[in-house]
Symmetry: C2
Subunit: 228 residues, 2 copies
């Protein structure tokens, strides 16, 4: 409901991981004023929220919201249900959907980003989804994101009045190596980012998220500045 901002505005989903940290830096580089949005969704640990706040601060983002959402209450995922173990990465990451899949997670997150975009007058929603070196989650695929954008522009007052919102996923077709290289080019504060599904003092190194991250740094030929 805000007036047209001087700079175009983008709502960036910021989990505090490598990908969303890079996506936020990308949005700033593209000239967007970033409104960062993080979620407390009953994940096993709050470490990613602490790191998301540190990342937002390092990027100079003034508007960072943390919303509590009850995705975890639905159950069914190793990321939110302590009765389900976080699995070690298998040999063929992405070949099947793992137990870390959270039902409808990105749909719930993007829906709240859509509401925030309308309220703040943002013309873009930016998500660090990746469909190449990823865990096979259905809600990270290009056809899903296109269908969400189409639905979004039928859902809101802004959309039907012609103020369309774009769903941008700048990392969608990048390998983890490419993402690491993009992050370094953008000087994204990835030393503050946290990817591990577990919430220990140090990253576990064995969950899918850790394995994908390590693979990216190894392929890029650089040391992970987070010291993971």
């Amino acid at each position: 409901m805000a007036g047209a901002p001087a700079k175009p505005r983008a709502v960036v989903l910021l989990s505090g991981g490598l990908d969303s940290t890079t996506a936020a830096a990308w949005a700033q580089k593209r000239g967007y004023e970033v409104v960062a949005l993080s979620f407390d969704y009953g994940q096993r640990h709050k470490k990613e929220l602490t790191q998301a706040k540190a990342v937002a601060k390092a990027l100079g983002i003034r508007d960072h919201r943390v919303l509590k959402v009850p995705v975890g209450d639905l159950g069914g995922s190793a990321l939110t249900d302590r009765r389900i173990a976080v699995p070690k990465a298998g040999k063929r990451i992405g070949a099947s959907i793992p137990s870390t899949y959270v039902p409808a997670r990105n749909t719930v997150f993007l829906s709240l980003a859509l509401g925030l975009a309308e309220v703040t007058g943002a013309s873009a929603i930016v998500i660090g989804a990746n469909a190449l070196d990823y865990s096979g989650y259905p809600d990270c695929r290009p056809e899903y994101l296109r269908a969400f954008e189409r639905m979004a522009n039928l859902a809101t007052k802004a959309g039907i009045e012609g103020r369309k919102v774009k769903v941008k996923a700048p990392l969608l077709r990048l390998s983890k190596r490419d993402i690491v290289q993009l992050a370094l080019r953008l000087k994204a504060p990835i030393h503050l980012s946290w990817s591990c599904y577990r919430g220990g003092a140090r990253a576990c190194g064995t969950c899918e998220s850790c394995v994908l991250r390590a693979k990216g740094f190894a392929a890029a030929g650089v040391t992970d500045p987070a010291g993971a």
Copy 2:
């Protein structure tokens, strides 16, 4: 993640109003085992949640979830922001989008219903949306609901594995008179339903929701059993 249920299951969005109460009774009549879903979204009053619980009980629904969602935290609506007054109904209800519009509300609600549908193995999501005698909200229109359903089946593990979910809006093209008559035919417990946007001891009779409800009962030639 549950096995195939004996009866098909439907997640029904239950606000406790006339329309959702009728939609829940409709789903039962169609043979669905109903999982009811209500939201505490920072609405001005909790009366609709009390009534939603009473309606679910009267219908014999055993699984009724109430989720807290932060839609109200986004601001921008008279229904969740006490600084914005609930308007009296205008002469041409639905001609423009009123201040009671909550940004992305149905998208957030349907997204959580989608997650619950996947976890409970439900094959349908039922919403009491109505695009005839309504307030002109964009997220009550047929094209929006179709776009949501399309997106939903690309979003989930169930969807891409072929266990599709249908979004059903049985009241979509009914007038308020038709809805009242359907409710009476179904013996829906509408005496327990609550439609008023304000949270007084009795319905105010002047907000859009009260005016639309009164119009429906008057046109059907019956007295509102809620005594509103």
